[in-house]
Amino acid sequence: MGSHGIRDRVAIVGMGCTAFGEHWAKSAGDLLIDSSQEAYRSAGVTPDAVDAYWLGTMGSGLSGLTLSEPLKLQYKPVTHVENYCATGSEALRNACYAVASGAYDLVMAIGVEKLKDSGYSGLVVGNACTDGTEPAVTAPATFSLLAPAYARKYGIDEKTLKEVLSRIAFKNHRNGARNPKAPFRKEVPIEAIASSPKVAGMLGIMDCSGVSDGSAAAIVCRAEDAHRYTDRPIFVKALSFVAGPAEGPLKQDYDFTSFPEVVASAQDAYRQAGVSDPRAEISMAEVHDCFTPTELVLMEDLGFSARGKAWQDVLEGRFDLDGPQPVNPDGGLKSFGHPIGASGLRMMYEMWLQLRGEAGPRQIRDPRLGLTHNLGGGPGRCVSFVSIVGR
């Protein structure tokens, strides 16, 4: 028994990522064509060379046909993957394992989501037939529970906490302003963030990630084959995924200041990658900043900050692009919005650029290990994904 991981056994050798945004003129199929074409070109291969596909989407299609039909794939295995907001990352994880197993030589993980077609505000998740007793709380409301709980536990006044949260959004927008693929490409003054209209609890509209369409793709092969496709592959050091027992809504001892699922997946990933001090060893991270308090709590759950200290690290600029441990250098969900199936692969796309030295104005100096993180659900009841990649 054990989670052994596949450290350095598979490599990403090509990636593609569409611009994210309001793609009124493009369908989910169009976005899949765009990101896959970019990924094929990036790896220097034709579709024929790719043996199998993992497609992540939560609501933009069912079955492998969602991919094979628009791309006209010639009788290839396509697995449809869904795992809430970690859907894109989950497609990558399973694609990597298929390669590591020896079942296939070259595979693609690809994710897509068309959110803007629905016309709704925020995310909409369809439920199976129910008894009508499920709480109908929106995502910002669910995540807003983190803020007062964190403030109470660590004795921070509300004004300071608001400043911390605004600082997180400010940082991510500043990074996103330097990213041509991000739809929200403007720096936002910290005062404008702090005074944005209230959505839920302490959270204003500027504490929330946006809604957008997008697609991203990665081509994966065994590590020993990587240099056939590129001279600068990135290697998978760890892939961890956890679905929690959803204890938070049931047990009185859950206090809404941590995601136990994230702690478990991070610890597993660090073990797989041989990382003992994530605060020192992880050069950069793309994390699931669906709402500003989520990013705050993640810094502690991922071990980047000591318990109760992340708010100070945020204010001191530790996670800024030019800080010692940049977080969300591409602008995060905050600047990209969150097309569910695509987000995890969009995060990996930034790791790909950064580790290859192709991140332009956002380039971090000499990154060695990058971490991506997704979570889906809410505090006390979620799934969590952590990957670590490096050169």
């Binding site: 629905s118 016309g119 709704y120 505000s121 925020g122 909409v124 439920n127 037939c129 129910t130 008894d131 009508g132 007793t133 709480p135 109908a136 709380v137 929106t138 910002p140 409301a141 669910t142 807003s144 529970l145 007062p148 709980a149 109470r152 209230k198 959505v199 839920a200 609890g201 027992p245 204890e247 809504p249 049931l250 047990k251 009185q252 859950y254 809404f256």
Partner: protein, 461 residues
């Protein structure tokens, strides 16, 4: 002989000032956007059922049934976790049905049955009309049982049936109509007098023997005039709550009776008269068991626990009278019959589970214990009357509601167990961690003609 063993009442939290409608003095009670005749009846029934043996029959009276076809009494039965063997029936079509149900309940109790009689109404009227102004929303419930347990025994009854056109509404009509006031008065006054006299005679009493006259009718003037006709002194006439609640349709006679019982003394005789499509009268004699029959919430306590700043347009929105811009969110899905049926004890009676291996309470009911992992070692644990406190909460301005913003709280129960749910009858600006909450049965929404009932929490009233 039989009588009232226990009783309860319910007045919703919201009032609207008549000055905010189309003029007039005082205020009327308004069922919240998430209440209807059934949910309010459940609140009153819970009060009446807090102690004592379970009834074997449910009778429910209303003129505002949530379904034209589907038994409301069965929903009340489920929400009160009554035994499967109990019978159930709905009455209605007339505001007199409330007191009729009480009379029928007394008959059944005399025959040895134990009967839960409840009446509840959401009274609406055409905007700016008299019914909108004078109506009220409320509920009352009574458990009728043997004389030996009665806090108020039935000692006289009379009924009269008369066909005339006074208040009417076809299924297609959104609002009831009423014939002119003078006609209603002329027809009803003698009917009220007749049943009052006959009921008193049956009890062997004179009007002067009454401690209290409770009279109500579709004609307010007929109800008001009965005391003078009988020669009853004004101090022996029950307030009809026109300025605080309004006339609550089929629930009104029961509500006024409950209020009378709240302050009655052993030996008091109370005559209750209700007039609509004829008239009905019941005479009660209060016994020395009255204290044990009383609910934890008196009618006056319900009346004084309120929020009175409702806007007229908001009310019209709640009742579906005023169309409005829908939110940019999907319409709620109708709940499905099999999952609802599987979850009956949870959904309707708010019954969770407790692990017999480790003692951890949990809701919704689980099969695998969240604390110790034991499988299928649970026993049912009722939470409807459990009190809890706010562990944390949020004000959700994005979620769709007929009364935004939604306040959602994580509730920790004193007996263990945690539940996250919506708060209702709450001022978002006044919610705080640690606030005490109680559970309340509500209609969450209606989708494709299916009313979705479930529980919310409210600040303790």
């Amino acid at each position: 002989m039989a009588g009232i063993v226990r009783y309860g009442a319910y007045v919703p939290y919201t009032r609207i000032a008549r000055s905010a409608i189309a003029g007039g003095a005082g205020e009327r009670a308004v069922a919240s956007f998430d209440e209807d005749a059934v949910s309010m009846a459940v609140e009153a029934c819970r009060e009446a059922l807090r102690e004592g043996a379970a009834p074997d029959q449910v009778l429910f009276a209303t003129t505002s049934p949530p379904y034209a076809e589907k038994l409301a009494a069965a929903i009340i039965h489920a929400a009160c976790a009554l035994p499967h063997e109990a019978g159930s029936a709905d009455l209605g079509a007339s505001s007199r049905s409330g007191l009729s149900a009480l009379g029928l309940g007394a008959d059944l109790a005399t025959a040895g049955r134990r009967v839960l009689v409840c009446a509840s109404d959401v009274v609406i009227g055409a905007p700016e009309g008299p019914r909108e102004r004078s109506g009220g929303d409320a509920a009352a419930a009574f458990v009728l049982g043997p004389d030996s347990e009665a806090g108020a025994r039935v000692i006289g009854r009379a009924a009269a049936t008369s066909e005339y056109l006074d208040v009417w509404r076809t299924p297609e009509m959104p609002f009831a109509r009423q014939w002119e006031d003078r006609f209603g008065l002329e027809v009803l006054a003698p009917l009220l007098e007749d049943v009052a006299h006959r009921a008193l005679r049956g009890a062997g009493l004179q009007p002067a023997d009454l401690a209290l006259l409770v009279a109500e009718a579709t004609s307010e003037r007929a109800a008001a005039g009965l005391a003078a006709t009988l020669g009853i002194k004004p101090e022996c006439v029950a307030d009809r709550l026109a300025s605080s609640v309004g006339r609550a349709g089929a629930a009104h006679a029961g509500l006024l009776l409950a209020r009378a019982l709240d302050s009655a003394s052993p030996g008091d005789r109370i005559l209750v008269v209700s007039g609509a499509d004829g008239a009905e009268a019941v005479v009660f004699e209060v016994t020395d068991r009255i204290q044990a029959a009383r609910p934890s919430h008196r009618v006056d306590a319900w009346i004084s626990s309120k929020r009175a700043d409702l806007a007229w347009t908001t009310w019209l929105k709640w009742r579906g009278i005023l169309p409005f811009e829908p939110p940019r969110r999907p319409d709620p899905e109708r709940p499905a019959a099999p999952p609802m049926q599987r979850a009956e004890r949870w959904k309707y009676a708010f019954t969770g589970s407790r692990c017999t291996a480790c003692g951890a309470a949990q809701l919704p009911p689980q099969r695998v214990c969240v604390a110790c992992g034991a499988v299928d070692r649970m026993e049912p644990e009722p939470f409807a009357d459990a009190s809890g406190r706010i562990a944390t909460f949020t004000v959700d301005r994005l979620a769709y509601s007929l009364q935004p913003p939604v306040v959602a709280a994580v509730v920790d129960f004193e007996r263990g167990g945690r539940f996250q749910c919506e708060l209702t009858d709450v001022d978002p600006a006044k919610v705080a961690i640690g606030d005490e909450l109680e559970m309340t049965f509500r209609r969450l929404f209606t989708a494709q003609g299916v009313h979705n009932y479930f529980w919310k929490a409210r600040p303790r009233r």
